[in-house]
Symmetry: C2
Subunit: 336 residues, 2 copies
Amino acid sequence: MIEDTHISLAHGNGGRHMRALIEHLFARHLGGPDLDVGLDAAPIALPAGQELLITTDGFIVQPLRFAGGDIGTLAVNGTVNDLAVSGATARYLTLNAFIEEGFEVSELDRLIGSLAAAARAAQVCVVAGDTKVLPRGQGGGLYLATTGVGFRPAGVRLGMGRIAPGDEVLVSGPVGDHAIAVMLARGAFELSGDVCSDCAPVGALALPLAQMDGVRFMRDPTRGGLATVAHEIANATGLDVHLDEAAIPVRPAVRAVCDILGYDPYSLACEGRVVAVVAPSMAAACLALWRGLPQGAQAARIGTLASGVGEVILHTGLGGERCLDELDDDPLPRIC
Amino acid sequence: MIEDTHISLAHGNGGRHMRALIEHLFARHLGGPDLDVGLDAAPIALPAGQELLITTDGFIVQPLRFAGGDIGTLAVNGTVNDLAVSGATARYLTLNAFIEEGFEVSELDRLIGSLAAAARAAQVCVVAGDTKVLPRGQGGGLYLATTGVGFRPAGVRLGMGRIAPGDEVLVSGPVGDHAIAVMLARGAFELSGDVCSDCAPVGALALPLAQMDGVRFMRDPTRGGLATVAHEIANATGLDVHLDEAAIPVRPAVRAVCDILGYDPYSLACEGRVVAVVAPSMAAACLALWRGLPQGAQAARIGTLASGVGEVILHTGLGGERCLDELDDDPLPRIC
């Protein structure tokens, strides 16, 4: 058992205390037939006819918990979702924990328990991990990194290179919920509200589309939000991305906070949404599929691709338009 | 190009500055046919008849550079070596960088350049990565995490479960160099010396043994050193590990620092050594193989396994013996 109530440097030194932390906290939550904490490297079985994909992400959200999630659910879903929008079913995760000296063991236990529950919900197994302890004052509590391995049926081809003029842009739900939920959890600006993070696995949304002909490209709009995804598409293709402001779903509570603080909701992070670029002939079918799922009920057709100079143009409700600039200074750092 | 000389929170926000950092610093060093920074997840090709292994490790060494290496070479070799001692040839890495606001871009450039050189030397490709920026004062400069994917020929079976009484313990070279090199780089205790870290890939040492019948188990003695590996074996097997102090190679300069400060060299980290447990009939062949390599010139037979109660017993030069306790308080935190 873990004898201490708070993390000390000895929990990171490779000896008895570290072994206790790994066996009695991490392995208790994450244990299963695929995790053997006595191994230096874990074997992964390969299904026939599948491609293997790998991705990685770091998590430094502050505060560590917020309405709708915490750093543990983020660390699972952020990585699982990068695989899902690539057309791959996530199967395995590795976990790095950087824990600050003095961190409460009971809080670590709750957060890793939450991570384990999110992993079960997303049907992924943690197969390898590592812990490091940072000296007091140099850690911000807890930082996590996860690397995900997933399988993709051979023949799935998604990529920005397949995007063509006339293609349509879809989003699976309201944008900005995650960033505003984290901001409200900070208690800054004396604002409060009941915005929940959208943090969730997007496999049910993304994987059926990945196998549909005419679906060109998908991405989850995390840091930098929808605007950043639009800029990445514009930069990579040289096409203009035209977005219809009136069509982009934004919850009233998110819109209200944005109006008060002067934020642009299109630059705010989501953690459970998908942006898809699809051939015009496929847009209706994709939307119908998404709207048939609880997490896609507010899915919308929000824009089109056209020949141009690689700009992102927001068509405002009044018939006007403005260039949506690439994010420069971040109004909300540390949201994932 | 990167317009700034120091890292700011904007380098972590998903926008223009982050894109510049990734394209003009990380991708410049790490770029290659297997790295596409525009992808959410990278595909991995699977050779026929091979098992896939995965491992992960975090790196918080302080200072970031030391004689014989830096956090970049550690981040490559630490992970590559966990695969090698499992019998797998490392092929791919993912990289997480947690960078503190205010960190010098030129120093980041040197360290990632060093990481890239170490990756080339170890013949691994970085295929995915993520960067996060930590607020000033909450980062300790730079933390890294790497996850490694390697391939192992089907049929390789290594594991503590295969260890039997009578087996012999080998080490591929002197122990403690890495920990002492890092300690000296701190300039603490007004000590100086010319100890270089042993930080290096161990594939050439470990992979030939992995395919030899009678090689039971290998591990690289990093945090907690040789003593911790011995305890892991004793705990897992219930056998006693008898170590012959006179046979364990320790460089005179390492021994001298240990004598001055009261450190036990057997608890100090290595970053380029292998501990192997082999059947007695194989010990001579394994030693000959190691001694034929430059990095194995000082390889030694250092102990044996015997029925017992799961203790680690150090036989001292004078015919005496003492129990080698499992590491409790760490004399040298943050050495990897």
